[in-house]
């Protein structure tokens, strides 16, 4: 290329370009600017609305405001279950550019494994993209600081303030309260949970499950302005969360405490209820579990511990253990025999047993001549063998069914079982065999195929003592629940419910007097309480079927179950208690358990009647505002001194 300068600049000086060419350039420029202007028009005028929406979607994020769950109180307004503030970490999938690259850092910072995160992501695969995924609950201040410090690198991490459940410690009342947890995939497919989202916390068992709709409240949301890193730079409007409803349970903390204490170290269940109304005063199942462990993500070791425990801690044995009732069934037998006018004049010679259909059925003692009044306190098997033989299985089954056996009671707790009451129809249906007359003999002493739950026994025997009025057991006062919700719960937890069975006054008096005799001169005499009209019936139920009758208690897992059903006072009792002590041996061993509970109850009532101060009763709760209530204190404070756990000084002195 030629770079040497020309000598003369002047040579072409006079020359000019044709004006047309410059005009052409002007037109080209004008055209370009018009095209650009049209491009601007297309975006800013024609497309303004949709782009504005996109810009808003860019910067506005909906953050859920979780409603605090309703708290639970005992019948006197004492706090049972509270909430405490806690922080959870969520993952915003929309904010993620390359999640897989971030995972190791997230896992490290939150002290979880990459596999765990993958598992969580899989669970939420079907959820809409904008929905935050819970990565870890109840994170430590350390982990919170990690999230704050990595706002720019990990814009996808978001924290959320939540209210978390705080349950009484050591599994106190765990089975009746239940626990909450993240909703499972199976549950989401059920119609009951149609309006629930993955990640929602729901009641999984106990009152928490039954009354979930009331307790959960309505979540709100908050619109926040974020920048491209997901950092909150401003706030817009919000929808307030509606707190869940506080519920008052029928539980009496003092009775519950006595029951927990009496069952210490034992396996089994206790249920105490008020037969007038069906209100459950105490419900204990042992072994128990710690629902606080379920409130946050369960640790694997604790879950394994629960799963491998042969005594099934999660089972609420008060409503889910179906076992032979043993001699407690003799009350039902007596009721049937007396109502059939078969037992009144029956006199049976007990010489340590009797033979029926070619088999010898043993009695634990030689009672001599026995009538029904003595057969109950002495628990004479020979008498009831004879009575059962006289009544026949279908008559027994009819009366037992009337009293609610082989049906659910309709208690407001999930997963109640029915138990079994054999009959000819039952045997044909289940075994396609006819009933052999000889089979009825062991049914007479509550063995054979008879299986009952503690709650059935408490309701039935409490009902007999109340002149035949049976009530639906319940844990929440019906007036605490809106009528339509109550109806729905009765429908869901259908069962025997409220009913009245015929019971002649004479028979009523006879049975209740005989039960009172049990604790004075009968099988439960050691549990006699001076000054308390305490009535009851023992039961010693074989776990392994021996040929017939009670010849030995067995040992270990073969040791007999000790039953006791007690009440006070004997007629129209204020409290009925059923005690199941698994492998506890003689039923008389369970009598002191019931005695302690009834003693606690009666003592309390008397102190109240005599105007003796028994416990600090907090003022009724002020109605909660719609906004989340401020936490009532650090959780450790509750853990350190939970009201329910401390026996009152006045009671301890008793």
């Amino acid at each position: 290329m030629e770079l040497t300068p020309q000598a003369e600049l002047a040579a072409g000086k006079a020359e000019k370009l044709p004006a047309a060419k410059l005009h052409a350039v002007q037109y080209v420029i004008a055209a370009i600017l018009v095209i650009l202007g049209a491009g601007l028009w297309r975006l800013e005028v024609a497309g303004a609305d949709s782009f504005r929406a996109l810009a808003e979607a860019n910067r506005i994020r909906k953050v859920p405001v979780l409603a605090p769950r309703g708290r639970l109180f005992d019948r006197e307004g004492r706090l049972l279950v509270d909430n405490y503030p806690s922080v959870s970490c969520f993952l915003l999938r929309e904010q993620v550019k390359d999640l897989n690259a971030d995972l190791p850092l997230i896992a490290q910072g939150l002290h979880i494994s990459v596999e765990q995160i993958h598992a969580t992501l899989r669970r939420f695969q079907t959820a809409p993209k904008y929905q935050p995924i819970p990565l870890k609950q109840d994170i430590t201040p350390d982990e919170q600081a990690f999230i704050e410090a990595h706002r720019n690198e990990l814009p996808e991490l978001e924290t959320l303030d939540e209210q978390r459940r705080l349950y009484p410690r050591d599994g106190f009342a765990a089975h009746l309260i239940g626990y909450v947890g993240e909703i499972s995939e199976d549950d989401l497919n059920k119609s009951k949970y149609a309006f629930y989202q993955p990640g929602d916390v729901v009641g999984k068992s106990g009152v928490e499950a039954t009354y979930d709709a009331l307790l959960r409240g309505v979540d709100g949301s908050r619109d926040v302005i974020v920048n491209s890193h997901g950092k909150e730079i401003g706030r817009l409007g919000q929808t307030l969360a509606q707190a869940g409803k506080d519920l008052r349970l029928t539980i009496d903390l003092d009775v519950q405490m006595a029951a927990e204490k009496a069952m210490e170290g034992k396996t089994g269940a206790v249920i105490a209820l008020d037969p007038h109304t069906g209100e459950i005063l105490a419900l204990v199942s042992r072994p128990t579990f710690d629902p606080n462990q379920f409130a946050v993500r369960l640790s694997k070791s604790y879950w394994n511990e629960i799963l491998t425990n042969p005594d099934h801690p999660l089972l609420n044995k008060a409503i889910q253990a179906q076992l032979a009732p043993g001699s407690t069934f003799k009350i039902i037998m007596s009721y049937a025999g007396l109502q059939e006018n078969a037992a009144q004049d029956m006199h049976v010679m007990c010489s340590g047993g009797a033979s029926f259909y070619g088999h010898f059925f043993a009695c634990d003692k030689r009672h001599g001549m026995v009538d029904v009044e003595h057969a109950i306190p002495w628990s004479c098997d020979t008498f009831y063998y004879t009575l059962a033989n006289k009544l026949g299985i279908d008559t027994i089954a009819k009366y037992a069914t009337d009293l609610g056996f082989s049906q659910r009671t309709g208690v407001d707790l999930p997963d109640e079982v029915t138990g079994t009451m054999p009959s000819t129809v039952w045997k044909m249906k289940n075994f396609h065999e006819k009933w052999y007359a000889g089979e009825v003999i062991s049914v007479g002493i509550g063995q054979g195929a008879v299986a009952v739950t503690p709650i059935q026994l408490a309701r039935a025997i409490g009902g007999v003592a109340s002149g035949g009025a049976l009530k639906r057991p319940h844990l929440v006062f019906p007036d605490e629940v809106p009528p339509d919700e109550l109806e729905a719960i009765h429908e869901t937890f259908s069962g025997s419910g409220d009913k009245t069975v015929p019971l002649a006054t004479a028979n009523w008096q006879l049975i209740t007097d005989a039960m009172a005799a049990t604790t004075t001169s009968g099988t439960a005499a050691p549990a006699h309480m001076e000054g308390i009209d305490f009535a009851g019936k023992t039961g010693t139920a074989q776990v392994v079927s021996h040929s017939a009758g009670m010849t030995s208690l067995g040992v270990g897992k073969e040791r007999a179950n000790a039953w006791f059903v007690g009440m006070a006072p004997r007629r129209n009792p204020d409290i009925a208690v059923a005690v199941l002590w698994e492998h506890g041996g003689w039923g008389a061993g369970s009598a002191p358990v019931a005695a302690q509970i009834i003693n606690a109850y009666v003592t309390k009532q008397r102190k109240r009647e005599n105007n003796i101060r028994i416990a600090e009763i907090p003022k009724p709760e002020a109605p909660k505002p719609d906004t989340p209530a401020p936490p009532s204190g650090p959780p450790t404070a509750h853990l350190a001194a939970p009201e329910p756990m401390k026996p009152k000084a006045s009671e301890a002195a008793n």
């Binding site: 095209i35 601007l40 949709s50």
Partner: protein, 366 residues
């Protein structure tokens, strides 16, 4: 050659339009960097503008014929500097574009080469004396521009190298290329570029990605199409009147990429709307028309060619930058003259304007 009285002939009207645009630029840079670590860039821009103004007055004092005289030397030194950048330049963001002169001063030769090319092309076509172009003439013109262009493309800096192209095209058009020749050239380049695209050797993968994402920005909203998508949202959501100064959610929320340089027009559109954007386009139109008027009144061919070269570069940058912001052009990284933040871009523009002033001041010299 040096007459103070000629400042009466200084184009104060043009400078007025440029001044308004510069003020708009500073305000928008301030808004776009308000909540970022680049806060304060507006003040640095003012410094650049002041230095640019000084350089503009300085260069207007030197008779442009002197520049035309020495241009072969300047051209030679430019080629040498570009080679030097390739060998010893600082690598920033994967491209060698800068020479560190020490003391925090960085020198980006490719920006200045643009100015030298404008004058060199003007001199080349002036030497041809206005006769009809033959193929060797065209070939030489291509060589003149494509050697530095190739060197810059190898840095790699596709954006700046592309700005050399309008200088060549403008020169060819004004220098008298015939329609038939132009048609043949277009045909040849269409075939060549098509082949190169397919072979994949012409463009680096990221450049290719930019081009494809321009065609369908929603294909990968979090990846390559992100910049374009956010730019379109920013512009579109501005509406007719805009969201107001410092109130653009896309700009202030850091959604819009580099809103103070390449995407400054998107930020401006978001905050000042269609009306504001048309105002800026109008200012550009007035500036360009004023420049062409000066080209018409220039005393001689070199003057006309130089001014038209400046016009070509500015129009090209406006078209590519605003075209990119409104989604009509791919992302190329070409700054918007007089609006985008950046010393090199500002200084080039003001030096170019200085030469234009220079030519205007000497239009009656005869």
């Amino acid at each position: 050659m040096f007459r103070l009285s000629s400042y009466r002939d200084f184009d104060w009207v043009l400078l007025g339009f440029v001044g308004i645009l510069s003020v708009i630029s500073v305000l928008e840079i301030k808004s776009a960097t308000l909540h970022t670590k680049f806060h304060g860039f507006d003040q640095k821009q003012i410094v650049f503008l002041v230095v640019g103004l000084l350089l503009m007055f300085l260069i207007s004092m030197i008779d442009y014929h002197r520049l035309v005289d020495i241009i072969p030397w300047a051209y030679g030194i430019s080629i040498f500097a570009l080679v030097a950048v390739k060998l010893v330049g600082q690598k920033v963001l994967g491209a060698r574009r800068w020479i560190n002169l020490g003391g925090g001063v960085h020198f980006q030769p490719s920006e200045w080469v643009k100015l030298i090319l404008i004058v060199a092309v003007a001199r080349y076509f002036w030497n041809l004396g206005g006769r009809e172009l033959n193929w060797p003439d065209i070939g030489k013109a291509f060589a003149l521009v494509c050697v530095p262009m190739g060197l810059v493309l190898m840095q790699p800096d596709m954006g700046t190298s592309l700005t050399y192209l309008p200088v060549l095209l403008c020169g060819l058009f004004l220098g008298g290329i015939r329609f038939k020749q132009a048609a043949i050239l277009v045909l040849i380049f269409t075939v060549l570029i098509g082949g190169a695209w397919k072979s994949g050797k012409l463009l680096k993968p990221y450049q290719k990605a930019r081009l494809t994402s321009f065609i369908d920005p929603d294909a990968d909203p979090r990846g390559k199409g992100y910049q374009i998508r956010q730019s379109l949202i920013a512009v579109g959501s501005g509406g007719i009147w805009g969201k107001g100064a410092n109130k653009g959610t896309q700009t202030q929320g850091d959604f819009l990429p580099i809103p103070y340089t390449d995407f400054i027009f998107a930020a401006f559109c978001e905050e000042h709307g269609f009306v504001g954007a048309l105002g800026v386009l109008l200012l550009y139109f007035l500036i360009l028309m004023r420049l062409i008027q000066n080209a018409q009144t220039a005393a001689d061919l070199p003057g006309t060619f130089i001014i038209m070269g400046v016009v070509a570069v500015i129009v090209f940058q406006i078209a590519v930058n605003i075209g990119m912001v409104v989604g009509l052009m791919p992302v190329t990284g070409i700054p918007l003259p007089l609006m985008s933040y950046g010393g090199s871009s500002i200084l080039f523009t003001f030096l170019a304007l200085g030469i234009v002033m220079n030519i205007r001041m000497r239009r009656f010299v005869n």
